[in-house]
């Protein structure tokens, strides 16, 4: 049964975090929002009665994907640093 103060809050926060992740001005901030979004999605899976999916989402969806995104940001900065001299920090446009 839906309990608005749990499910409604969860849904609104998921949408807000997704919006923030996709429209962030800074790539690092976008990834941080995305990892938090993944955590809330894991809680939503529990709310929907899917505990296996929740464990997998928390470990793989939020954890590993976040780590992959962060290491890619750093590698891109390193590549830019050793190649052509460009902006020191990855910025969105």
């Amino acid at each position: 049964m839906i309990e608005w103060w749990v499910d409604g809050l969860l849904g609104v926060m998921m949408l807000w975090l997704a919006w923030q992740a996709l429209s962030a001005a800074d790539l690092l901030r976008a990834v941080a929002m995305f990892v938090t979004f993944g955590l809330l999605v894991a809680i939503a899976w529990i709310r929907l009665g899917a505990p296996d999916v929740a464990i997998a989402e928390a470990a793989i969806g939020a954890g590993l994907t976040g780590a992959l995104l962060l290491i890619t940001i750093r590698r891109m900065d390193d590549q830019r640093g050793s190649g052509t001299q460009e902006k020191p920090r990855a910025k969105a446009d």
Binding site: D52, I55, L64, L68, R75
Partner: protein, 222 residues
């Protein structure tokens, strides 16, 4: 004129997105509710599947072929990333600090134990090979980032392939035992599932860690 379009673009895109969302939502809310026929079929066959967790039964028994293909896709992704030849710098270890080494000392063994627990308990409670493999990948990744673990090319390749290998060999061996591809014998189905899941856990951990590292092991070019 192009300037005008460029300024209207966010509004147009937003309107288009909302329209598409409304269309999909309308179609979705019109679809008939789940009448439970598939759920009933799966849950009725559950005692014969060899495990108690319905999701594990579906993944490793009723739809085992899909899981076989998924393990193959993981391995294929690793080969593709290695084929890209990224030439990343050799050392990406984090600087040694007391915080990190105590984190490593506590959470490294803990993650291995949790992975083993998730693998074992996946037969009856929520858990299973994928969750265990992901947690184990986290532990292996911590060790890699600390610079304390540098497996050679042979180890990584074997660890990544063992999941698909065991799954394929089991699939091929089944016709000799029961007469159907990927059809486990009734009495020992749980054991076969555990065997496949263990190999898959090792493989998933190795592949996810290797995808993160992205540098082919044994590569000597700087």
């Amino acid at each position: 004129m192009p300037r005008l379009i460029e300024r209207c673009l966010p509004v147009l895109a937003g309107a288009g997105a909302i329209a598409l969302g409304a269309l999909i939502a309308a179609a979705l809310l019109r679809t008939p509710e789940n009448d439970g026929a598939m759920a009933r079929a799966a849950l009725e066959a559950l005692p014969d599947s060899g495990v108690g967790n319905p999701v594990t039964a579906v993944l490793l028994n009723f739809r085992a072929f899909d899981t076989l293909l998924e393990v193959a896709v993981l391995l294929l992704t690793l080969v593709a990333v290695w084929a890209l030849d990224l030439r990343l710098p050799r050392t990406e270890a984090l600087p040694a600090s007391p915080v990190f080494s105590s984190l490593l000392r506590i959470s490294g063994p803990l993650l291995v134990v949790i992975a083993g627990y998730l693998l074992w308990v996946g037969a009856s409670e929520p858990g299973g090979a994928f969750q265990a493999g992901a947690v184990l990948a986290g532990g292996c990744l911590l060790l890699r980032l600390a610079g304390r673990w540098n497996p050679g090319a042979g180890f990584v390749r074997w660890a990544a392939s063992v999941g698909l290998l065991v799954f394929l060999l089991t699939a091929i061996a089944m016709p000799a035992l029961t007469g159907g591809l990927l059809q486990y014998p009734h009495a020992s189905a749980g054991m076969w599932i555990l065997l496949i899941e263990t190999a898959a856990t090792v493989s998933i951990a190795a592949i996810l860690t290797a995808l993160f590292v992205a540098r082919e092991p044994g590569e000597t070019r700087p």
